[in-house]
Symmetry: C2
DNA sequence: ATTATACATCGCAATATTACGATTAATATT
DNA sequence: AATATTAATCGTAATATTGCGATGTATAAT
């Protein structure tokens, strides 16, 4: 055990859970907020900004890349990271679909 | 190690990460969707609906209760669960604050 | 060519998560 | 009172996550 039973859930549920999991860490939220603020950044900017080791930042960037929400372009020795607008909007849309407004408050126990 | 360095992040970043973490599992997404569809439910409904063991469902419910997004009322031998409208809207609001539309697409690398 | 810079990856240790059987606690039914 | 129902909690096993030092790789500068 220790492994999620993905086979018993829908594609949509698994996909949303995977996206949320990638976002569900303060360092990764901080990374995304920093990229949005600066438009782009390199790994080393984040090491200085967040105060985590370079290996740790690199790993968090990898997880964000895994869901496609950021992409990196090689620029000489450094890698320029930025938000992937399409994926960003896609996740936003899926979240809005999930977070409906009508949740039947009146019939609540 | 294996522990998140919460002290180096802002309250807001930690809070959002905690909320997202609680939502970042297909079973918990399925649970919330089921409650929204039915307005309320008891633990046993979910055991039958999802096909996970009762102990497992109970644990997922506990994590959702931890962030306050659901609440449970004791009704005889069973516990009636429902969405907490206030927390639901609060998380929705925090997500909307995070998922801004202007992410500087033009200046991307 | 050698050295410096930037970043990814490996390997490890500590901790957290997922899942479930077994048990417990509390209320309902008989 | 004895039994059934419902759900929380405990204990355990398997796996995943977090963080970092060390190492590897690729380009830039000297």
């Amino acid at each position: 055990m220790g492994v999620t039973k993905t086979e018993i859930f829908t594609e949509q549920q698994n996909r949303l859970a995977t996206s949320l999991k990638a976002l569900a860490h303060p360092a990764r939220i901080a990374i995304l907020q920093y990229i949005i603020k600066q438009n782009t950044c390199i790994c080393n900017d984040l090491v200085e900004e967040l105060g985590l080791a370079q290996a740790t930042i690199s790993q968090h960037l990898k997880e964000l890349k895994n869901i496609g929400i950021i992409k990196g372009n090689i620029e000489g020795t450094s890698v320029c990271y930025c938000i992937d607008e399409n994926v960003w909007q896609q996740i936003k849309k899926e979240l809005n679909t999930f977070f409906v407004d009508d949740i039947g408050i009146d019939k609540c126990c």
